[in-house]
């Protein structure tokens, strides 16, 4: 190790070390010294995050690709470590979120130190640290062994974080499903690595890159990798764990999970498909595109039916993963049919949306956590009016909503716009069927965007506007500065990434250079203000201009109209003269999404029942009216329940071998032994 080139790697090690230290420190955070967690642990996390940002940025911008190896583990196979632009990019993403939660956490975790939600603190700190270490190390991994070890570490510590508030049975069940699917996914990933390793003759990524795969085996490797990493990133129909697991974890952990953990799946896909397997086939792209579209659409439709804020956000993670996959799929289709530039565009769109989603979903989960912290309410139908009680949180949450609804000039819009632009280049393809299908996928993306906007009008409008629907919400206060800082950081980044897309895309050039040996030369052809992904003639978008114009209109309108105007008078809300409106008269989230529920009827399993109690007597009067609505995700009932039944049936078939008699078992092992000996002989 020598020379300044090694610095990114050293920084990355420092980041890992800091994370571990934060874990160690938080071990002392027993009931009497909570500050070990609140300050020590999160302080180290801050350093860790900063260090990984620095490492990632350095590796990305300096186009470095450094390797290193330790003689750990088994004697004949070292641990290989590598940092290159791709892992650097994801390290930055992870680091940003870690910094945000390190600002947010100290206040937020006080909730667990005492009060109604009190929990033992050390596990939280330790498992958070392990969780983050897992992610950092799997990004640095340069062989399948290290990758899988830390992938498992991430999954397992994730399990303990999900089940942290284990008093509720729901959380335990959620954690179980999470663990189950995480392991199924890990298994499939292992298969994929197995195929690659078999052809490459070794576990290190370099050998895998060198592997020459026949199209069949390449497709098998792709299928396993896609399924495995897809499980982790929660694509339909492997998403069932996600909406249960993410909401029940502590909010800053939910932010990490939705923001960073599921992105590790994306990282794995890009790493294995683009980097390790190499030559991409367009048929794969079609598969990815179809599943991406399905995930996006179903994700947002399921999200619309939720009234638990964090659950709603979790479903939106599925939607956004879908959008990312659409970008990846388009990129694969174009690369597979030899359009390098368009393939690069798709990849850039996908990666851009990856970091965007990390930012605004982190922000939104932290916002939901802030609401939870003050009101202990996670049901939208019991919130309302928070904009008056928590104005800054409301503003920051609004930024997140606007960004995730893909509205200009925020970041979500840029990446969706890039995806649209990629899809619009479909005429470049030879295959007529693809030329017809891709625009339809684009239309589905449009539908997704519009529905997402509807969903976040619901989330913000019901949650933060109107009148408070419960006493605890009416008494809410603004959250401490630290939490605001954490959210503010992410909100600012949401705006910056929305306003300066050209800079971001140019910064991404090393990644595409490394993966597909191509970049977007014309992205900033007209200067930093004009984003022109393909060519200025074809499409252009000037986010800075949009921002300036809106601000200008705001200022001018304010000056012209407000100048000399009498201060507005406050009066009752117009209630048709009925008398004071109560909070019960407002639209609830269920009511808000009713029209959409009716339009897209078949998508959910809806059971809706209205129980009316009528008083006896000559003229029966309705004395009580109870409305209950339950919408369920078909995929659970249609995919998983049958599988479960199948497994049970199979188990019942072979139950006879379980006699409970020790001798039988001994006989079994004896026979097994004999069989094996016979095989090896």
């Amino acid at each position: 190790m020598s020379g300044t080139n090694e610095i990114p790697l050293l920084l990355a090690y420092a980041a890992v070390a800091c994370t571990l230290l934060s874990g160690v420190v938080s071990m002392f955070a027993v009931r009497r010294h909570p500050n070990f967690l609140h300050f020590g642990s999160f302080l180290f996390l801050f350093f860790s995050g900063a260090a990984s940002i620095a490492a990632g940025a350095w590796a990305l911008l300096a186009k470095l690709s450094l390797t290193d190896h330790f003689a750990l583990g088994l004697p004949w196979l070292d641990w290989h470590v590598r940092i290159d632009p791709l892992s650097g990019f994801f390290l930055m993403l992870l680091g940003t979120l870690v910094v945000a939660i390190s600002l947010y956490g100290p206040s937020y975790t006080r909730e667990f130190a005492r009060g109604e939600a009190a929990q033992p603190l050390p596990p939280l700190g330790v498992f958070s640290a392990l969780f983050i270490v897992g992610m950092q190390m799997l990004l640095l991994a340069d062989d399948a062994l290290v990758f899988m070890i830390f992938w498992e570490m991430m999954s397992l510590s994730g399990y303990f974080l999900v089940v942290y508030q284990h008093q509720h049975a729901a959380n335990r069940h959620a954690a179980f499903v999470y663990l189950l699917l995480a392991h199924v996914g890990a298994l499939v990933i292992l298969l994929s690595f197995g195929v690659l390793a078999a052809f490459g003759g070794g576990l290190t990524f370099d050998q895998m890159r060198a592997a020459k795969l026949s199209p069949l085996w390449a497709t098998i490797a792709f299928g396993c990798a896609f399924a495995g990493f897809g499980t982790k990133s929660g694509m339909v129909p492997l998403h069932v764990w996600l909406p249960d697991a993410h909401p029940v974890a502590p909010s800053h952990i939910s932010a990490l999970m939705s923001g960073a953990m599921i992105k590790m799946g994306i990282y794995g896909m890009v790493r294995v498909i683009y980097d390790l397997i190499g030559d991409v086939r367009w048929e794969w792209g079609v598969v990815v595109l179809c599943i991406g579209t399905a995930s996006a659409l179903l994700g947002v439709l399921y999200a619309l039916m939720q009234h638990d804020l964090k659950r709603l956000l979790a479903y939106h993670s599925i939607e956004n993963i879908g959008i990312i996959l659409m970008g990846l799929g388009l990129s694969m289709i174009f690369l597979g049919s030899g359009h390098m530039m368009l393939g690069t565009l798709g990849l850039v769109a996908a990666l851009y949306h990856t970091i965007n989603h990390a930012l605004f979903k982190g922000l939104l989960f932290l916002g939901a956590g802030a609401v939870l912290y003050r009101t202990h309410e996670h049901d939208l139908d019991r919130m309302g009016g928070l904009i008056h009680r928590m104005p800054i949180t409301a503003l920051l949450f609004l930024v997140g909503c606007v960004a995730i609804s893909a509205l200009p000039p925020f970041n979500g819009f840029v990446s969706e716009w890039l995806t649209f632009q990629t899809a619009l280049q479909a005429p470049a393809l030879e295959n007529g069927l693809l030329r017809t299908m891709i625009p339809i996928a684009a239309a589905m993306l449009a539908l997704t965007g519009a529905l997402a906007a509807a969903c976040f009008v619901k989330a913000f409008g019901i949650g933060f506007l109107g009148q408070p629907r419960s006493r605890r919400v009416a008494r809410a206060r603004e959250v401490p500065a630290g939490m605001l800082g954490g959210m503010g950081l992410l909100a600012t980044l949401c705006l910056l990434l929305g306003v300066f897309p050209t800079t971001v895309i140019e910064a991404m050039a090393p990644i595409t250079q490394m993966l597909v040996q191509a970049a977007l030369p014309s992205a900033a052809a007209q200067g930093w203000m004009w984003l022109t992904p393909i060519s200025p003639q074809v499409a252009s978008y000037s986010a800075p201009f949009v921002l300036i114009a809106i601000v200008a209109v705001f200022g001018l309108g304010y000056l012209i109209l407000k100048r000399g105007a009498i201060a507005p008078r406050r009066a009752y809300a117009w209630d048709c003269g009925f008398g004071q409106l109560t909070q019960r008269m407002q639209y609830t989230s269920t009511a808000f999404s009713q029209p959409i529920r009716r339009v897209f009827g078949g998508v959910w399993k809806v059971d809706e029942q209205i129980d009316t109690l009528a008083s006896a007597g000559p003229i029966p009067r309705v004395t009580s009216l109870h409305y209950s609505l339950r919408t369920q995700d078909w995929s659970w009932l249609k995919c998983y329940v049958p599988i479960g039944r199948l497994v049970l049936a199979a188990a019942n078939r072979i139950v006879f071998i379980q006699t409970g008699n020790i001798h039988t078992y001994l006989k079994f092992s004896f026979v097994t032994l004999l069989v094996f000996l016979w095989i090896v002989s």
Binding site: A453, V538, A539, I550, Y572
Partner: protein, 315 residues
């Protein structure tokens, strides 16, 4: 620089002329109802009056409620800046392409809906919920239709696309026919006109757009109404630009500009007459017929895209 000056001037003209289109629409509609019409500049009088009225806010109106009219107007202003009205290849068209244009509409709608929910009245929530439903169904159809056009012209830049269509002269493109129908339906739905919504209704229960702005008054209302007139004009100009671009100026010479101005005025007046006839012969739909209506629009735009790929590119 002169180009930018022209762009600014055209934008201002656009904003200033929008109420006039509303007035003309009103006039034609009155005549279709066999009644004497108010002056064509009646909308300006309404705006002037509203600007002069004293503001009145609900007790629990938040800062968002007061900010929304400006945001909505700003979004519409930007949208107006990128649509070629009397001349093509303006520099301002590079600010945003047609997808961003849809984004501006979405932005305005998003905040209007939030404003509807802010006061916490039932009508506001109702309007917001319905508006978001309708727009969610209209947006894919709209984008699909414009995708067809932009695939034909291989650009999403409005000015360039208009110029391409202008250059290629009269080509009998079935895709354009279907796209026109789809876009017309979407425009009717998005500008909240019959049969999707009735701009003149007083019945809160039948409102879509109006229900969200029941709480607004004074200059806020003025801004919002003006913005919606601009939106109507933008849709009208889009249809005119894409399907009948003939006459629009291609350089900044005085003659060309005059011709462009006359042409666009004539076309818009004609379009308004068509719209009024349409509104006169149709009745407002039940809310839950609207999805089928928009589904039909989506089908049309799909058909447009397919005919483009199948018949026109010779794939």
């Amino acid at each position: 620089m002169t180009a930018w000056a022209f762009a600014a001037a055209q934008t201002l003209l656009f904003i200033a002329a929008a109420p006039l289109l509303g007035g003309w629409l009103q006039r034609v509609k009155c005549h279709m109802q066999n009644r004497a019409a108010p002056a064509v500049w009646q909308p300006y009088r309404n705006l002037a009056k509203l600007l002069r009225k004293r503001m009145l806010l609900a007790e629990n109106a938040s800062w968002l409620f007061r900010a929304v009219p400006y945001i909505v107007f700003g979004a519409m202003l930007l949208a107006a800046a990128v649509v070629p009205l009397i001349t093509v290849h303006l520099p301002s068209a590079a600010i945003a392409d047609v997808i961003v244009l849809v984004g501006f509409f979405a932005l305005a709608r998003f905040f209007t809906a939030l404003a509807g929910l802010d006061i916490g009245t039932a009508f506001g929530g109702m309007g917001a919920s319905r508006e978001m439903m309708v727009s969610a169904l209209a947006e894919p159809a709209m984008l699909m239709a414009v995708f067809t056009l932009s695939m034909t012209a291989n650009t999403t830049n409005l000015s360039v696309a208009t110029e391409y269509i202008l250059k290629s002269g009269l080509v009998l493109r079935p895709s354009f026919l279907f796209a026109l129908l789809a876009l017309a339906i979407v425009a009717v739905a998005e500008t909240s006109r019959i049969p999707v919504d009735n701009p003149a209704t007083h019945l809160e229960l039948t409102m879509l757009h109006e229900a969200m702005i029941l709480e607004y008054g004074g200059r806020h209302l003025a801004l919002i109404e003006w913005a919606s007139q601009v939106k109507l004009m933008i849709y009208a100009v889009l249809i005119v630009d894409f399907f009948f671009p003939w006459g629009i100026a291609t350089d900044f010479s005085a003659l060309a500009l005059t011709i462009g101005l006359v042409a666009v005025v004539a076309k818009l007046m004609l379009l308004a007459v068509v719209l009024v006839v349409w509104e006169t012969v149709l009745a407002k739909m039940r809310l839950f017929r609207v999805p089928q209506f928009l589904g039909f629009a989506f089908m049309l735009s799909l058909l447009a895209m397919l005919t483009h790929v199948v018949l026109e590119t010779g794939g």
